[in-house]
């Protein structure tokens, strides 16, 4: 029977204790990388936490062995691991992982020693069981990685009996299969990632190999930083505050990683303790950094000590967040950063006119496939609108002119686009266009969608604040050239000398009774700080209304306002 200190790589066959150590190493290696695995998630894999789910499953599996204390027969240990995984699995990936262990354990039933033949057989049964564990097995997932890993073990068995070599080739093939998952699953290719569950399995197998090779699982700083996810950096606030982030490397003789992990875990939270009998990396969040450090010194020597005040980190985070671009207002993403809507040929596309780069982003966010820049003083041509309709490349297109002077050009373009079915929803202002976009459904029936957009455009009142280019008297309002004027739904309503004053008067007339939300789109000549100032002043006068300030980027119009 192998004891703790023997080098596992010299052991030709493994007993239960070795399997337990292998599984622990797999868990620890996954522990260090689970945040990376989380990041690989793409739809349709639900939730962004494949790594977490697999890690929780592995932790439960190992705990089950620890609690049962049965370490002699591989069969027993495998059965405990499988049971623990089954009772503690989380999520789809965890379920599949528990199925893998289920099959693995089944193959080792009644066995005392894990031979190379049995390893290959167990990997094969693991894969088979996992395939049966899902309703519709899909290639390009953890299943493919498990199957190819089993195949590699079987192939390796033909020319070697060396356990390490067999596992090495198994890991190599598993990694190779993982790298090919995007070729098998288009959604992965599109997202530019490999399969997350498959990646988790590779880390588990690789951790096992590292153990067999006698390598300590060293935690590189970079890896540790990556592994610390948002949840850990922003640890729960309690009456004692955020506490300290403590990290160090403990060196000593015959260190018991599990005992140290349990001890450290009892001192604080977000514990990460990995390593071997000679060196252990400790990471923990505590209120008193002295406690884990004193404990470490009692066991050996400490190096690479890092103590950080997380209260400061948190405040930093809050500051960064306050100035973060999105969803907080501020420096918004450029148009190119907002992905355009993806449409099939049979879908309905929207072509929208936008009078500023900010408004263009709003329309894109709401699903407009093609944007035509233009507005009051630079009406786009029929040709420009027609080009956009044709670029949309769908059979059905809805055009939003968003300006009364552009409606005719849009209708002209619609008639010229003979290969497509084009409908103009005659929106007269930018806010009307935005309101019309709300019920837009690319997969809907064209008549139904057009009807809904028609109704929606009139649910908003538009105010526009600009500078008069000539003197005039209209609707009983007398205007001198250079004065600030306010229009409501296209009609001259107010004239004055100050932007904020005119804006206030316009709002007074727009927002009577039912209005709930006021949105201010500020133009390219207005400072963001000014816009926020104006909004704050106005919101004091309208305590029951919500205000939203959005960069519109339009020329000439200081503000476009919508009330709904």
């Amino acid at each position: 029977m192998a004891d703790h200190s023997s080098s596992p790589s010299e052991t030709p066959a493994c007993n239960g204790l070795t399997l337990w150590r292998l599984a622990q190493a797999g868990r620890d290696w996954l522990d260090q990388h689970h945040a990376l695995v989380n990041q690989l998630n793409v739809f349709p894999v639900p939730d962004g936490d494949t790594g977490t789910n697999m890690l929780m499953t592995m932790r439960n599996a190992i705990r089950e062995v620890e609690e049962s204390g049965a370490t002699e027969h591989v069969g027993q240990v495998a059965a405990r691991i499988a049971h623990g995984a089954m009772m503690g699995s989380r999520g789809n990936s965890g379920t599949i992982l528990s199925q893998l262990w289920q099959g693995f354990a089944h193959a080792l039933k009644e066995q005392k020693i894990l031979t190379p033949e049995l390893l290959a057989k167990a990997l094969r049964e693991a894969s088979d069981t996992a395939y049966r564990g899902v309703i519709k097995p899909v290639e390009g997932t953890i299943l493919t990685v498990a199957r190819e890993a089993a195949e590699a073990a079987e192939e390796a068995l033909r020319d070697t009996q060396d356990m390490v070599e067999i596992l090495r080739r198994t890991v190599l093939r598993a990694k190779d299969a993982l790298a090919r998952t995007p070729e098998m699953l288009p959604i992965l290719q599109k997202a530019g990632v490999v399969d997350s569950g498959g990646s988790g399995l590779v880390y588990i197998l690789e951790g096992m190999l590292l153990y067999l090779q006698g390598q300590a699982i060293q935690v590189k700083e970079a890896t540790l930083a990556e592994a610390r996810d948002l949840a850990e950096t922003l640890a729960p606030e309690d009456e004692l505050g955020y506490g300290y982030d403590v990290q160090f490397i403990l060196k000593g003789e015959n260190l018991d990683v599990n005992a140290i992990r349990a001890a450290i875990d009892s001192m604080g939270w977000s514990t990460l303790v990995v390593g071997n009998e000679q060196a252990i990396k400790v990471h923990v969040h505590v209120h008193d950094p002295g406690i884990p450090l004193s404990y470490g010194v009692s066991l050996g020597t400490l190096s690479d000590i890092v103590v950080e005040n997380m209260q400061e980190q948190y405040q930093e985070y809050v500051r960064e967040r306050a100035s973060a671009p999105s969803p907080m207002p501020g420096a918004p993403p450029s148009l190119a950063e907002i992905p355009p809507i993806e449409l099939d040929e049979d879908d309905i596309a929207v072509v929208s006119v936008a009078s500023g780069d900010g408004l263009a982003r709003v329309f894109r966010q709401l699903g407009a496939a093609q944007l035509v820049m233009g507005g009051q003083t630079n009406n786009p041509s029929t040709q420009e609108i027609l080009d956009a309709i044709q670029r949309a490349a769908t059979r059905k297109v809805i055009v939003l002119p968003n300006n009364k002077n552009i409606i005719l050009a849009a209708e002209q373009a619609a008639r010229l686009a003979t290969d497509q079915q084009v409908v103009v929803v005659p929106t007269r202002t930018m806010p009307q266009g935005i309101s019309a976009m709300l019920p837009y459904d690319p997969k809907g029936d064209l008549d139904t969608v057009v009807k809904a957009m028609f109704q929606a455009k009139d649910r908003v009142v538009t105010g526009e604040i600009t500078t008069a280019t000539r003197s005039v008297e209209l609707n009983g309002v007398k205007v001198t050239e250079g004065q600030i004027i306010g229009l409501i739904d296209g009609s001259l309503a107010v004239a004055g000398d100050e932007i904020s004053q005119v804006l206030r008067e316009v709002l007074e007339r727009m927002c009577s009774g039912e209005c709930e939300l006021i949105t201010l789109y500020y133009g390219n000549g207005i400072d963001e700080a000014d816009a926020r100032q104006v909004s704050e002043e106005l919101s004091a006068a309208y305590p029951d209304q919500e205000f939203e300030v959005v960069y519109g980027g339009q020329a000439h119009y200081h503000y476009i306002v919508s009330a709904e």
């Binding site: 977490t52 049971h83 699995s89 999520g91 379920t95 309703i135 949840a231 922003l234 709930e516 959005v550």
Partner: protein, 281 residues
């Protein structure tokens, strides 16, 4: 007479009184705050505590299906007490719960378990679970109950008006909601869950508009055999919605349900919804 027990998962929001009356067995699903995993059983995680924590949102919040072993335990116990188990779960298109139930059934007594993918959640699932339990109590055979449930499935509708896109976008379970973030902060999705698929009905910029859209949707599906109002920690809204729909259910009070945390993770607080079983024929 065949003794039948009905089993479901915690995405079923059927009020406790009904669960107790029919001895319905519920397997909790899980909510994760970072690496902390809490059972959605009303004990480890109460609704009030959950929404407080969710809105503080310093943590990555996610949900997961129960372990097969846990389903196995509940199912084995039910099979020991009854001749047959009818299990209804959240949609297999949205969650792994159905699969964990399937694996558990395979490991117990597949011929004594009838497993149904309900395609719906919350009170949509609740109405189906109640239907199964009522029929079991009335002495119907498992086959007859399963037939009735399958006939009722297409008549179940769930709609919701969410306060924000944010939680749906973060959840990742709904593909089209992923890119929904941008310049405008005030965008309220009005969504439909039908046959396991979440689709966008429309969007609103004001809560009044969202509310009236929801009312219109519920009215468009009348007459109803069953009608329930849901809210995510928004009892005043739920009350207002129930009032606005009261005439549709003249003889019985419309149940108001605060949706369970595992759903709350994906919809966020301050949402309203309705679950309807349309009348047959």
């Amino acid at each position: 007479m065949t003794r039948i027990l009905v089993m479901t998962d915690s995405t079923c929001d059927l009020p406790r009184a009904w669960l107790e009356r029919y001895d319905i067995r519920v397997v909790p699903t899980y909510v994760h705050f970072g690496l902390e995993s809490l059972a959605d059983d009303g004990v480890q995680l109460t609704r009030t505590a959950f929404y407080e924590r969710l809105t503080a949102h310093k943590e990555v919040v996610a949900t997961s299906a129960p372990p097969v072993g846990q389903v196995l335990e509940v199912m084995s116990r039910a099979l020991a007490e009854a001749d047959h188990v009818i299990a209804l779960t959240a949609p297999s298109k949205l969650s792994g719960i159905f699969n964990t139930f399937r694996l558990a059934a395979e490991q117990t007594a597949p011929d004594r378990v009838t497993l149904i993918d309900s395609g719906t959640i919350s009170m949509g699932l609740g109405w189906l679970v109640l239907m199964a339990a009522e029929r079991a109590a009335a002495g119907l055979s498992p086959a007859a109950i399963a037939r009735d449930i399958h006939q009722a499935l297409p008549r179940v509708e769930v709609w919701a008006a969410l306060d924000t896109f944010e939680y749906l976008r973060r959840s990742g379970r709904v593909g089209w909601a992923k890119a929904a973030m941008g310049e405008l902060f005030q965008i309220k999705p009005i969504i439909r869950l039908y046959d396991g698929v979440v689709s966008s009905v429309t969007r609103a910029r004001t809560s009044q508009r969202a509310f009236s859209t929801l009312v219109d949707l519920v009215r468009s599906a009348a007459p109803h055999e069953r009608l329930a109002v849901m809210h995510s920690n928004f009892p005043e809204g739920g009350e207002r919605l129930a009032q606005a729909l009261a005439d549709l259910s003249p003889n019985t009070e419309i149940p108001r349900v605060n949706v369970t945390p595992v759903i709350g993770v994906h919809v966020g607080p301050h949402g309203l919804g309705a679950a309807v079983l349309r009348s047959a024929g």
